[in-house]
Subunit: 377 residues, 2 copies
Amino acid sequence: MTGLSASTVTVITNSLLERGALVAEAMSDFAGARRGRPQVRLSANPAHAAAAVIFLGLDTIEITLADYAGTVVASEVESTPTHELSANELTDAVISVLRRLLDRQGSGLAPLGRIAIGVEGIVDADGQTLLSSPVTGRSDVRLGQALENAFGASVEIANESNMIAEALRWKAPDRYGTDFASVLLSVGVGMGLYLNGKLFSGVRSSAVEFGHTCYKPDGALCRCGRRGCIEAYAGLQAIWRTATGGDQSKMPSQDLPENALELLMAKARGTDGPERHAFREAGNAIGIGLSNLFTMFDPIPLVFTGPGAAGLDLMMESIKAALAKTSYGLPVTVSIIDSYPDYRALIREGGLMRALVFLDHTMPGLGEIRERAALPD
Amino acid sequence: MTGLSASTVTVITNSLLERGALVAEAMSDFAGARRGRPQVRLSANPAHAAAAVIFLGLDTIEITLADYAGTVVASEVESTPTHELSANELTDAVISVLRRLLDRQGSGLAPLGRIAIGVEGIVDADGQTLLSSPVTGRSDVRLGQALENAFGASVEIANESNMIAEALRWKAPDRYGTDFASVLLSVGVGMGLYLNGKLFSGVRSSAVEFGHTCYKPDGALCRCGRRGCIEAYAGLQAIWRTATGGDQSKMPSQDLPENALELLMAKARGTDGPERHAFREAGNAIGIGLSNLFTMFDPIPLVFTGPGAAGLDLMMESIKAALAKTSYGLPVTVSIIDSYPDYRALIREGGLMRALVFLDHTMPGLGEIRERAALPD
DNA sequence: CTACTTTTTTCGATCCTCGAAAAAAAGAGG
DNA sequence: CCTCTTTTTTTCGAGGATCGAAAAAAGTAG
């Protein structure tokens, strides 16, 4: 992969082994009983560092702890009314869960080197401050600094959709290639976008706010305060609003029954009533949004994740209809459309990979090496 | 800039000078009469190669010839009814103009190394075939291959908006930085997009088809065959259609008076009638489109070019109004909005730079060097 | 003409990388 | 248990890129 010869690889890996940090000789001796001198298997050294992944959802704090080799060593989900907490209370809640998890591990785990946080909402460009998120009513929550002070580990906060795209990129690089989009269908409508083999993110802030792209000028009121956003038609609360004939000029209700999505899907699948219409409208909004995207750059593989992906069948027809409208007679064909409802697992995996890759890139001594060689990221 | 030491630069430039190709010692001895040993000024060697830039517009073929140092040596504009020609006739017309220009230069010019073509429309990913363009009714015009056969120089066809962005990047790198967008307001509405210091283009085809992004679902009919595109409100013919109360469900008229834009602007500036309303509507479409873009990635400097930029004052209010609608209370402020009506000059300059940079990158012998060093593009 | 200033070039040293050769670590077979 | 074969790893010397220090060059200032 690097283009280096075997002899050079020896020199480099030996110097890494001597430092005893990143790389360790893997004991897994499943050599496979082949002839010849067996290969020396190297692995990431679990003792090099530890990483934490935090998912911050509405009323949910989920924390996963892993070693540098990527093995998950602990995990915990805590229910807290995030929306009722002040910025400081929310920060403290996160700190206490993570501290409990770390204490339980004792000295068996390497020191925590990086914390990756996935959250719905908008994060500043440095990935340190939560500018705006439906998880908390507060803005400018300086979670990054607080966690860094508490644990001495650097922090990255990122939009959950970016984490999902990252996970898919690692899980199935062959299937999705260097360019694909993941669409998260939940209360919000998010997108993670990989272009040219790199996560596409804002110039200053972090997220590709696909859900707040305008579908109908002066259309339905969105949670964000604007009108006509895709999310104002395709978010869970918006689908509920459309299906129940709610006023489109008022904010969609936050108080949905626990199983709102299941109720909507059941009715929509049963009869061709307002529920089915609501899903169609959601599909149309998503389809137009995707069509606009594919007008800017060509069609790329799509992955739908999140609870809403369970209702994809109810939206697919209108999504495809919107995509089928061609410009100058040039066809728009999307080669791959996948559904992957378990978005929480993807956020865990994507967040972990981001944290681990960060640890790779901040290996002690790398600074001097990079300075000399002017290596790319 | 490269980070190399002066001694290394000596070695490299000397090897280039020995080959006598790319680099030559500049005779311009404007040393400035300073003390000490005078610097050796190097320049691109004009005799290394020549480049041609072709602008293919509606009823217009414009060709510019330049040497490797970037000096324009000849230029010609030819009026031809491009729309009435077959694919072969169009190709032949271009070839004959370029051949005439080259013949006139005689042996004074280095051999033609690269041809860059800027055109409105959609080009295939290789930049060889015109898939669809309003300049010609035909599709799949294999202009690249034909010119390469005729002149033995490699060819790149690109969307004119990309050329414009490229030119701005070279003209004022400090002002526009690594991220900016140029919006071309003409018969069509185009965009050139620089992101992360690189021209953003489609994964497969070439252009950022901003103008064919959907503004109003099921809205006015566009030249492209779809409904509600930005261009169906902000293209010149579309503004004319709106101002004259034309049927929005029919294609906009192709037969506009020569000075249609001037007529519209004069009336719009005079009275608050249908003309002014048409510009407002155009501004709104552009504004919503830009707002969507800035929702995906943060606000970046904007440059408006093309004849329509002369009417920017009539659209600015509604553009800014659309941009001002905030999401989650986060402000959208565009730091720089420039107007640069002479788009033809920009296409010439941008095309020339692309051609010259290509020649840099295909310098004889570079292949082996790059193979060894695994250099980036 | 000499002193000074500034830039370029030369030179030896260092580091990275490679291919060929040597060494190592296993299984296969007697 | 020993030797042969196979496969991988490692060592070693060579080549090339790059650098800093020193030397040379090419001017101006007086």
